[in-house]
C-alpha cells in the first residue's frame, strides 16, 4: 500500500491515549506522506483511575489533565483533533443511530478515504466497542462507491481465534520515536505502564522495552457489508 494514495484519514477512538497506543505509528506514516489525519476523540477519559504516585490528579481534575495530554499527543503526531464531548464509560448508552449519523457527517465533510476505529466486540472496553460499532455503521451508511476503506483495531483475548491475523500490519522499527513520544504525552496513562514494561524487559532501555511491546500496529481491513457488529 502507498500511504500517499489516501486523501484524508479519520481516526475514531473514544479515549485520549487510544490513538497513541493503537495507531500513532500509522498516523506518522500518513503524515510523512503528506496525508492529513483527523482524530475524532469521543471522551476525555474522565473515569480513568490513574491518579499517580505521588498524586498528580483527582477525579475532578483528571479531565483537564487528559485533555492537555491529548492535545500534546496530537501535536507530536501533527494531526487535527476534534473532541466529541461524550462521557467516559457512557458511550454504549448513547444512541448508536445518532452517533453513526454524526460520524458519517465528519467522514464525508473531511473527505476521508480511510477510517480507523475499534473492531466492535473485540476491543475490550465498552466505549471502544460502542464507538467502533457506530463508526462501522457510519461507513455502512455511505454509498458503496464513495465508501472509505475501513481499518479496525482488535485486542480482546479471543480476537486472533475469531478474526485470524490482522491483514494490515505496520512495522515501526524505523519510525518509533514519534509513537513513543505520543505515548509519553499521556503521562497519566503511560507512566506506570512504561516503567512496568521496562521492569519486565530484558533491556534496560525504555526505547527498546517499548519497541518490543509496540513495534507493530495491526488492523483488520473490514468490508462492513460482510460483518455483524
Amino acid at each position: 500500500m502507498n500511504y500517499s494514495d489516501h486523501k484524508h484519514v479519520v481516526v475514531l477512538y473514544p479515549h485520549p491515549d487510544d490513538e497513541s497506543f493503537g495507531a500513532a505509528g500509522t498516523v506518522t506514516k500518513f503524515r510523512e506522506a503528506g496525508v492529513p489525519v483527523t482524530y475524532l476523540c469521543g471522551t476525555l477519559g474522565e473515569m480513568g483511575r490513574n491518579m499517580g504516585s505521588p498524586f498528580f490528579a483527582n477525579r475532578e481534575t483528571l479531565p483537564d489533565i487528559r485533555k492537555k495530554e491529548l492535545q500534546d499527543a496530537c501535536e507530536v503526531l501533527d494531526m487535527n483533533l476534534e473532541m466529541l464531548g461524550y462521557r467516559d464509560k457512557t458511550m454504549e448508552f448513547e444512541s448508536r443511530d445518532e452517533m453513526a449519523e454524526r460520524f458519517k457527517k465528519y467522514i464525508e465533510d473531511l473527505g476521508a478515504t480511510l477510517v480507523i476505529t475499534f473492531y466492535p466486540g473485540y476491543a475490550v472496553h465498552p466505549d471502544h466497542n460502542a464507538m467502533g460499532a457506530a463508526a462501522f455503521e457510519a461507513v455502512k451508511r455511505i454509498d458503496q462507491e464513495k465508501r472509505p476503506t475501513l481499518w479496525a483495531t482488535a485486542f480482546s483475548n479471543n480476537h486472533r481465534d475469531n478474526l485470524g491475523k490482522p491483514n494490515v500490519v505496520v512495522d515501526l522499527i524505523d519510525s518509533f520515536d514519534k509513537k513513543l513520544n505520543a505515548i509519553k504525552s499521556h503521562r497519566s496513562q503511560a507512566e506506570g505502564m512504561l516503567s512496568q514494561l521496562l521492569a519486565n524487559s530484558e533491556s534496560d532501555n525504555e526505547y527498546e522495552a517499548a519497541l518490543e511491546r509496540f513495534r507493530y500496529e495491526g488492523f483488520y481491513e473490514v468490508d462492513v457489508d460482510q460483518v455483524n457488529y
Binding site: M51, S53, N58, R59, P126, G192
Partner: protein, 117 residues
Amino acid sequence: MDSIKIEEVQKYIDEFANQPVYVHLETTNGAYASHFNANAYNVGAYIRNAHLTYKQGKIVEHDDSYRVGLKHDIGWIYAEGLTDFEVTDTGQLLIAGHDREGRLMVTLEISTEPFSY
C-alpha cells in the same frame, strides 16, 4: 490529595450537613480487570450529582483506611476503603481510596454546587 486527617474531614462532613448537596459516589476496579485476569470480575458503579440533604455524617478509621456514612431522611450514603482527601478551591470535599500504584478504587465527593458533567 493528602492522607486523611480524621478530625479535619469530620469537620467538613459536618459543615455540609443539613443543606442540599451534590454527591459523587464511585467504586471501580477498572475496565480491564477481566481482560488481564480471566478469574477477575469487572465491577464498578457510580452516581454523579445525586442531590440530597443528609442530617448527620461520620468518618471512622479501620486499619489504615476509613469509612464514611451519611444518614439522610430515607436512607444512607456509604463508602469504605478511603485513604486520601482534598478540599478544592471551590470548596468541594473529595475523599478517595487509592491502591499502591495510585489508582482510584473508591471515591465519595460532596459539593454545594453540581460537579461538572
